[in-house]
C-alpha cells in the first residue's frame, strides 16, 4: 500500500488528499467503469433505469456476490478456490433435502452452512496441511463434489420445497428483497472483519508476503485455512438464497459459477497475486458482471455469447492489474 500511495504523486499532486486516497482504492477503476457503463446503458438500452430492473441487477448477483466475498479473502491470502460451483450445488442439495423433509428455515440453513464448512475445511486442510497447491485441490474438489451430488441424489431433482424454507429468496422487507439486504449486511460484516480483526489483517500480511508474515510470527497455515472455511460458510448461506429464489435444485446447480466468482473478485480490483483488494471490490465486480449480463439481454445479444464476454472481462481485468503493477515498479520511489 505504501508503494501504491507513492505512485501517482506527479499527476495527482494538486488533488485533495481525500480524493487521491479514494482513487487509489483497489476497487476504484471497477467502480468508475461501472458508473460509465450504467450511463451508457441508461441511454442505449431501453428499460435499464426501471427501478425493478435496477434491483433485479443486484438480486441476480446476490448468490455470486455472497460467495465472492469469501473467495475474495482466499485470493487476498494468496490462494484460489475454484470449487465453489460444485460446493454451491452440494450445499443447495443439503438445504433442499432438509427443507423437503423437515420444513422451516433454520434447520435447512444450518444444513447448508454445515455442508459448506465441511467442504471448505477439506479444501483448507489439503492446502495447508497437505501442502498441495490450492488450484489443484479445488480443481479436484470441483469434480469430486459434483460427483458426490450425482452419487448422493442419484440424479434426482428436488422440486417441492416448502415456502418457509424459501423465505430467504422470496420475501422482502420495506420494498427491498431479502437477498439484497443479506448481501449488504454480509458485505459490511466481512469488510469489518477484514479491516479490524487480527485474522483479517493476517490475511493481507500472508497474501502480501508469506515468508515475511511467517518470520513475523503469523500462522500462515491457520490464516489460509480459515479463509477456506469462510468460503464454506458463505456458500452455505448463498445456497439457502439460491434455493429460495429457484424453488428447486437440479444436479447441475451452480455449474460454471466458479468462473463468475473468480471474475467478480479480480474484475473488482483484488489482485490475483494476493495481498491487495477489499470486500467492496468483490461486490463491485459481482454487480458489474450482473450489469453486463443484464445489458447483453437488454441489447438483444444472444445468451451464447455470455461466456465469451466473461472471459474477455477476466482477461481485461488481470491485464489492467498487471499494467498497474508494472507502472508501480517503474515509478522511481
Amino acid at each position: 500500500m505504501s508503494k501504491a500511495a507513492a505512485m501517482p504523486r506527479s499527476e495527482t499532486g494538486r488533488m485533495p488528499a481525500g480524493v487521491r486516497t479514494l482513487l487509489l482504492r483497489p476497487e476504484a477503476p471497477a467502480l468508475i467503469f461501472l458508473v460509465l457503463l450504467a450511463i451508457v446503458l441508461a441511454f442505449s438500452a431501453e428499460g435499464f433505469l426501471d427501478p425493478a430492473n435496477l434491483e433485479d441487477n443486484i438480486a441476480r448477483v446476490v448468490v455470486l456476490g455472497v460467495i465472492a466475498l469469501g473467495v475474495n479473502q482466499v485470493v487476498l491470502s494468496g490462494e484460489i478456490d475454484i470449487s465453489v460451483g460444485s460446493m454451491l450445488g452440494l450445499c443447495a442439495f443439503a438445504v433442499g433435502a432438509v427443507g423437503e423433509s423437515q420444513g422451516g428455515l433454520i434447520l435447512p440453513l444450518l444444513a447448508g452452512i454445515g455442508t459448506g464448512v465441511v467442504a471448505g475445511s477439506v479444501n483448507g486442510a489439503l492446502v495447508t496441511l497437505g501442502r498441495i497447491p490450492s488450484i489443484i485441490v479445488t480443481l479436484g474438489m470441483l469434480y469430486a463434489l459434483r460427483g458426490m451430488i450425482l452419487v448422493i441424489t442419484g440424479g434426482r431433482w428436488i422440486t417441492n420445497i416448502p415456502s418457509d424454507t424459501r423465505a430467504l429468496g422470496l420475501q422482502s422487507v420495506a420494498g427491498v428483497s431479502v437477498p439484497v439486504i443479506i448481501l449488504v449486511v454480509l458485505l459490511v460484516v466481512v469488510e469489518l472483519i477484514s479491516r479490524n480483526s487480527t485474522w483479517g489483517r493476517n490475511v493481507f500480511a500472508v497474501g502480501g508476503n508469506r515468508r515475511a508474515a511467517r518470520f513475523a510470527g503469523l500462522s500462515a497455515g491457520r490464516t489460509r485455512f480459515l479463509a477456506f472455511v469462510l468460503v464454506g460458510v458463505l456458500t452455505g448461506i448463498a445456497a439457502a438464497i439460491y434455493v429460495g429464489r429457484a424453488g428447486g435444485v437440479q444436479t447441475n446447480a451452480g455449474q460454471g459459477l466458479e468462473l463468475q466468482v473468480v471474475a467478480a473478485v479480480v474484475v473488482g480490483g483484488t489482485s490475483i497475486s494476493g495481498g491487495r483488494g477489499s470486500s467492496v471490490a468483490a461486490i463491485t465486480g459481482a454487480v458489474l458482471i450482473g450489469v453486463i449480463l443484464n445489458g447483453l439481454v437488454l441489447l438483444d445479444v444472444p445468451a451464447e455469447w455470455q461466456s465469451a464476454m466473461l472471459g474477455a472481462l477476466i482477461l481485461l481485468a488481470i491485464s489492467t492489474d498487471a499494467l498497474r503493477r508494472r507502472l508501480l515498479r517503474e515509478q522511481p520511489s
Binding site: 469434480y143 469430486a144 490475483i272 444472444p302 451464447e304 477476466i314 498487471a322
Partner: protein, 317 residues
C-alpha cells in the same frame, strides 16, 4: 548428502509404483468385466485416450516450467467449431482443417502473450481464456452442431491399420518427438531450468519468454490435432467438445510424476499416467459404473496423485 545411487533407485520406485497401480487396476477391472482383458479392448481403449495423451504431452512440458494450461478443453471445442462451421459455410474441408490448426496455434499464442508479455500467472490467464474460447465456440456455433462431413474425413479418427487404430500411431510418433525434444535437446534442458528457477535460468542466458511462447503454441498445435481426431471420431463438430478435458490431462500428467511446482516430470511418466486414467475410465465403463461415479473418482484421484507425488518427493530429498 546421500550418494547419487539412492535417489536413482527411489526415482525408479515411483515409476514402479505407477506400474504396480496399473497392474492392480488391470487385475481388478478384469475381475469386474470379462471383456476387459482382451487385446481388441486395449486397442479400442487407445482410440479414446489419444486425445488426452496428445494434449498431455504439451501439458507435461508446461507443468515442468511451473505453468499450467486450463484452456485446452475449451480450445478443443473452439477448433472443432472453427473447422466444422467454416466447412458448413462452404470452405473446402482441407482448408477448414488448416484453419482449425491455425486457430489452435493462435489460441496457444494468445495464452502466451498474457503470460510472457504481462508476466501474469498462467492459471488466471488460462482460466480467462477457458471462458473466452468456450464462449467463442458457443457464440460462433450458436450452440448448434455440424455433422455432414465427407467420407474421407473419417480417416483422422476412425482409420485402422490392421487392428491398430490410426490415431494410436499418431500418438506414438508424437510421444517419440516430444520425448527426444525434452530429454535429448538443449530446448528440453531449458524447460527444466525454467521450472527449477526461472530467475536463475534468465540470468544464465535461457530465452525464457521464447521457450514459454513455444510451449504454449506447441500445446495449441497438439490441441488442434486432438480436436481434428476427436471431431472425426464422433463425426460431429460441437461447441461443448472437450468439456472437462483439462482435468483428465492434468490428472494424467500429475499422476505421471510431474511436480505441479515445476522442475520435474518425464514423458514416460505422463504416458503411464494417461494409460492408467484411460484404463480406469474404460474399465469403469465396461464394469457398468455410471459416469457420475467416474467424475467423483477422477477428482479424488487427482488430489491423491498430487499428495503421493509430494510424499515421494520428500522421501527423495
Amino acid at each position: 548428502m546421500i550418494s547419487a545411487a539412492v535417489p536413482r533407485r527411489l526415482k525408479l520406485s515411483r515409476e514402479l509404483v505407477l506400474l504396480a497401480i496399473l497392474v492392480a487396476l488391470v487385475i481388478a477391472l478384469s475381475l469386474m468385466s470379462p471383456v476387459f482383458l482382451t487385446i481388441s479392448n486395449f486397442l479400442n481403449t487407445s482410440r479414446f485416450f489419444v486425445e488426452i495423451g496428445l494434449v498431455a504431452l504439451g501439458m507435461t512440458l508446461i507443468i515442468i516450467t511451473g505453468g499450467i494450461d486450463l484452456s485446452v478443453g475449451a480450445g478443443l471445442g473452439l477448433v472443432s467449431v472453427a473447422l466444422g462451421f467454416t466447412f458448413k459455410a462452404g470452405l473446402p474441408l482441407p482448408l477448414a482443417l488448416f484453419l482449425g490448426v491455425g486457430v489452435g496455434l493462435a489460441g496457444g499464442y494468445f495464452n502466451s502473450l498474457f503470460i510472457t508479455k504481462l508476466d501474469l500467472h498462467p492459471l488466471v490467464v488460462t482460466l480467462g481464456t477457458l471462458a473466452l474460447y468456450r464462449g467463442l465456440a458457443l457464440g460462433l456455433s450458436r450452440a448448434d452442431a455440424v455433422s455432414n462431413f465427407p467420407g474421407w474425413f473419417a480417416y483422422f479418427g476412425q482409420f485402422y491399420l490392421g487392428a491398430v487404430p490410426g490415431q494410436l500411431i499418431v500418438f506414438i510418433v508424437a510421444v517419440a518427438i516430444v520425448w527426444v525434444l525434452l530429454a535429448r535437446t538443449r530446448y528440453g534442458r531449458y524447460v527444466y531450468a525454467i521450472g527449477n528457477n526461472e530467475q536463475a535460468a534468465h540470468f544464465s542466458g535461457v530465452p525464457v519468454a521464447r521457450v514459454k511462447t513455444a510451449l504454449y503454441v506447441g500445446t495449441g498445435l497438439l490441441v488442434a490435432l486432438a480436436a481434428i481426431i476427436y471431431t472425426s471420431r464422433v463425426s460431429t463438430a460441437r461447441a461443448d467438445s472437450g468439456t472437462g478435458l483439462e482435468l483428465d490431462v492434468i490428472s494424467a500428467v500429475v499422476l505421471g510424476g510431474a511436480s505441479i511446482y515445476g522442475g520435474s516430470g518425464t514423458i514416460a511418466g505422463t504416458v503411464l499416467g494417461v494409460v492408467i486414467i484411460a484404463t480406469l475410465r474404460n474399465g469403469l465403463t465396461l464394469a457398468a459404473v455410471a459416469t457420475t461415479y467416474q467424475v467423483l473418482i477422477l477428482g479424488l484421484l487427482l488430489i491423491v496423485a498430487v499428495f503421493l507425488n509430494e510424499f515421494f518427493r520428500k522421501t527423495e530429498e
